[in-house]
């Protein structure tokens, strides 16, 4: 057990956990931020995507001990009231079916658009390929990303 001072969604949070604990479980079990989802636990499906700084990371394999003082943003911290351009585009395109993977999809799309505000179809495919959606909402996700400006 060790104490970690984290910067989550602009708030200082202190947790006492095993240093190997993935940040996913710190968020979900200790900080009650359950918007970040568990899908595979081996960084293969993208459901658990968060931002560390401006970079999309898979939180299920990222030990809390590696976060340091970097700013972490989860789906809950993306905007005050769901009005981040990517969230708005998702609502406008009514993207979700079951909705489970969508937090991860949105967070990955946010990172993509920060790095590349006008991605081509191929660039979207390349950046989003690690985020699986069993419902098959890929066509709408692409449309929403292109509309999110």
């Amino acid at each position: 057990m060790a104490t970690f001072n984290l910067n989550i969604n602009g708030k200082k949070q202190q947790v006492e956990v095993d240093p190997a604990t993935p940040i996913l479980w710190v968020l979900r079990d200790h900080l009650n931020l359950v918007g970040t989802k568990y899908g595979c636990g081996i960084a293969q499906c993208g459901s658990c995507t968060i931002l560390v700084g401006d970079i999309a990371m898979r939180s299920c394999m990222l030990p809390v001990s590696q976060i340091g003082n970097q700013a972490v943003t989860t789906i809950e911290g993306l905007s005050e009231d769901g009005d981040h351009p990517v969230q708005k585009a998702w609502l406008e395109h009514d993207v979700p079916q079951c909705g489970y993977c969508q937090a991860g999809q949105i967070m990955n799309a946010v990172a993509l658009l920060k790095a590349n505000p006008k991605p081509s179809d191929e660039e979207i495919d390349g950046a989003m390929n690690g985020n699986i959606c069993r419902c098959g909402t890929y066509v709408r996700i692409k449309a929403a990303i292109k509309a999110a400006v």
Binding site: N32, K37, D81, L91, V95, Q97, C98, G99, C135, V139
Partner: protein, 731 residues
């Protein structure tokens, strides 16, 4: 104007009661953890009046509609309330939707499966809204002392034209709740629909994109513990011994023990299917601690039945298809037709086991005390599982309370609720609230899989290249995909359908469009090949068969309407420009199929890029009758197409020594962004027929269109799914 007798569904209605007090509410306990969105706070009435089990009206006119069925991504939580709101005649923006808990006294068929929610709910949902509207009109008529026939409604208001009076629903809701339930009510004419047929956004959309707690895995209560299970590493094995000393000593671990899912001698119902009856359970404070302790268990397993291997069961299936099987249907004299044939085409198709891989793994919350059980989570069959849990715990049915969360996918997996029972038993043993969580590996290797299938088709052509005989023989592991009365039965004089099933210790069950998810692709590939051998255009060939089935059907019990079948094919031909405006350099495949009460035809436009199939466009025509929520329906159509293509191209679960060889997404392939069609164009047949479902009819036929386009692109037919198992380079 349709008049329906409300007595038809009398048990669907609560005794009407007046309910007062701002506290009563949108309140099922799991919602307590949700932050209400500001607009909901703004509009919430202080007083609610229960009109019937489906809806409550607030004193300020806000309407709460209960969505009865499990929401697994098919969007019934929006579309079912839309149907009620239509007949109630309210403004959709004043409607708040809540998930109803399991309540067999009020609702019928609270189940997600078979693409039946809208089809079977259509009448009762309309009646719920129409009955409430009638009672509101009666209340206004009494208040104004005018005949009820003179009261009209619009957007949550009641009007009396002659006197110029008007009043909001909320203001008479208290009086309306005391009006006796009418014996019959009038339903709207379809031409007067204002909500049905218009696109309305997912009612949970904002909560999803802001990460609010909606799903089973998100549910928590104070003092809740986390439980995980360890199951045998292979089918046909059971627990021999467990050394839990290391696991028990780990931080945060409360207990380790074994449980039996069902009582000895318990007679399982269909939804009780499970792979393993005895499990090792680890319970602790947090997910990560329990995950680690699970790895520290030292368990010995022992074999109880033979270990399955993919090569072995594939060979067994081939042997079964090679010999006569159970005759399901015979028209004319197929033996003679094949004997006299100038040409016989025979092709065999196979498909592997598939796990469901809902993105949210299996999980359930349980809090069992001496005299009751509270259960919360994602389940497609709450009504069935209530019975199972009651039997397992020895509690009366009314002491089992099941509440449904939003579900991170279903696809049939959550029809089988052994994990609900496991959660209940673990909670009982711990005497504490617990949440049972499956890891992805647990979920994928302890599946209720889509059966592996094997089928052979034969077609007999005479010297004039006419189709004179047709034969299908096939089966699968614990389930046959052969539907003997489906097309092309009814369109061919000499027809024979036979099937078999093969037993196995690998557990199988329903998987999005059971049976159809394989047989549609096989049949539609085979018909494409037969059309080619006959020198006919594949669409023209099918239309000729439908024409025959329409004018002069062979046999009885043909399980399709040939005119509607032909309708979607003609529509997709027109919209895709098939045969007239075929895009240059593009390879096209077509398919049409009817299952789960809806008709679908699809054309795939494919090109090859660096040896990989790229689907530039899918044209899709659908006849599901009235479309309740068009944009959401299109979303479901797109998803079914992507899902069907993905599984047919990439997905497979293979077995070695009884164990699944793929246990997570590093080895198991689901379709990814770059592999989805670049565009999907959807056209609905507008015929005013009562609606049918869209959860399942889309993924089966696309596999045929895919196989046929791949043939055009490469010159080679594909018969064994997944078509790109080995990452082949095409062309």
């Amino acid at each position: 104007m349709t008049i329906v007798k409300t007595t038809y569904n009398r048990r669907s209605f609560l005794q009407t009661t007046v309910l007062a007090g701002g506290g009563m509410m949108l309140g099922f306990s799991w919602l307590a953890s949700c932050n209400p969105t500001p607009e909901e706070v703004l509009n919430m009435p202080k007083e609610w009046f229960n009109i019937n089990g489906f809806l409550k009206i607030g004193e300020n006119g806000v309407v709460t509609i209960m969505s009865p069925n499990p929401e697994i991504g098919q969007n019934v939580k929006t579309s079912m309330p839309m149907i009620i709101a239509e007949e109630l005649d309210v403004d959709w923006k004043n409607v708040v939707v809540e998930q109803a808990p399991l309540n067999t006294d009020i609702f019928t068929r609270q189940l997600a499966g078979g693409s039946q929610s809208i089809r079977q709910g259509w009448q009762s949902l309309r009646m719920a809204g129409a009955t409430a509207r009638h009672m509101l009109r009666e209340a206004a008529a009494q208040q104004w002392q005018v005949p009820v026939a003179e009261i009209t409604t619009a957007a949550g208001m009641l009007y009396h034209k002659k006197s110029g009076k008007s009043i909001g629903y909320g203001e008479v809701a208290s009086a309306a709740a005391k009006i006796p339930v009418p014996e019959e009510v009038q339903l709207k004419d379809a031409k007067d629909f204002k909500i049905i047929g218009t696109s309305r956004k997912n009612v949970d959309g904002k909560k999803i994109v802001t990460g609010q707690p909606l799903f089973g895995l998100d549910y928590k209560v104070e003092g809740m513990l986390i439980a995980m299970i360890a199951h045998p590493p292979a089918f046909g094995m059971k627990l021999k011994s467990v050394d839990d000393s290391a696991a028990k000593a780990m931080p945060g671990i409360k207990d380790v023990f074994t449980v039996n899912v069902y009582n000895e001698g318990y007679e399982k119902q269909w939804s009780d299917t499970t792979a393993f009856d005895e499990l090792v359970v680890v319970v602790g404070n947090t997910t990560w601690e329990v995950m680690n302790a699970k790895k520290a268990l030292r368990i010995e397993w022992e074999r109880t039945s033979a270990a399955e291997n993919t090569e072995g069961y594939m060979a067994k299936m081939a042997a079964l298809t090679a010999k006569p099987a159970t005759q399901l249907r015979k028209d004319g004299n197929p033996e003679a037709a094949f004997k006299s044939a100038a040409k016989v085409i025979e092709r065999t198709y196979t498909a592997p086991f598939l796990p469901h891989n809902t993105m949210e793994p299996m999980n359930f919350f349980a809090h069992v005390t001496a005299d009751k059980a509270e259960l919360v989570g994602p389940i497609q069959t709450p009504e069935f599982m209530e019975k199972t849990v009651a039997a397992r715990l020895g509690l009366p049915l009314e002491k089992i309370d099941i509440q449904m969360t939003r579900q991170g996918g279903g696809f049939g997996r959550r029809l089988y609720g052994h994990f609900v029972v496991e959660a209940a038993v673990i909670s009982q043993k711990m005497n504490a609230p617990i949440k049972l969580v499956y890891t992805r590996e647990d979920d994928m290797t302890q599946g209720i899989y889509r059966p592996a299938y094997h089928v052979t088709y034969r077609a007999a052509l005479d010297a004039d290249n006419k189709l004179i005989g047709f034969h299908i023989r096939g089966g699968g592991i614990q389930d046959s995909p052969v539907h003997a009365d489906r097309f092309p039965a009814g369109a061919i004089d000499n027809y024979l359908a036979e099937d078999w099933t093969l037993d196995s210790n690998i557990s199988t069950g329903a998987w999005r469009a059971p049976g159809s998810n394989f047989i549609a692709g096989a049949e539609q590939s085979f018909l494409d090949e037969v059309a080619e051998a006959m020198g006919k255009d594949p669409i023209e060939f099918r239309l000729e068969l439908f024409d025959r089935a329409k004018k002069n059907p062979v046999g009885k019990n043909n399980d399709y309407e040939a005119a509607r079948y032909a309708g979607v094919l003609e529509l997709v031909r027109e919209k895709s420009g098939w045969g007239k405006n075929d895009p240059a350099g593009v390879h096209r495949g077509v398919s049409a199929y009817y299952c789960h009460n809806s008709y679908v035809a699809q054309v795939i436009d494919m090109v090859l890029e660096n040896g990989k199939p790229v689907i530039q466009k899918v044209h899709c025509a659908v006849d599901c009758g009235i479309v309740v929520n068009p944009d959401a329906a299109i979303n479901l159509v797109e998803g079914g197409i992507v899902d069907g293509i993905g599984h047919a191209l990439y997905s497979t679960l293979t077995f070695k020594d009884g164990a699944a060889e793929q246990s997570n997404f590093d080895k198991y392939r689901l379709i990814r962004h770059s592999e989805a069609p670049k565009a999907i164009e959807v056209h609905f047949v507008n015929n005013g027929i009562d609606p049918t479902g869209l959860g399942e009819p889309l993924n089966p036929p696309i596999i045929g269109a895919l196989a046929n386009a791949m043939y055009k692109a490469t010159g080679k037919r594909v018969y064994d799914q997944p078509f790109l198992a080995g990452g082949q380079v095409l062309g």
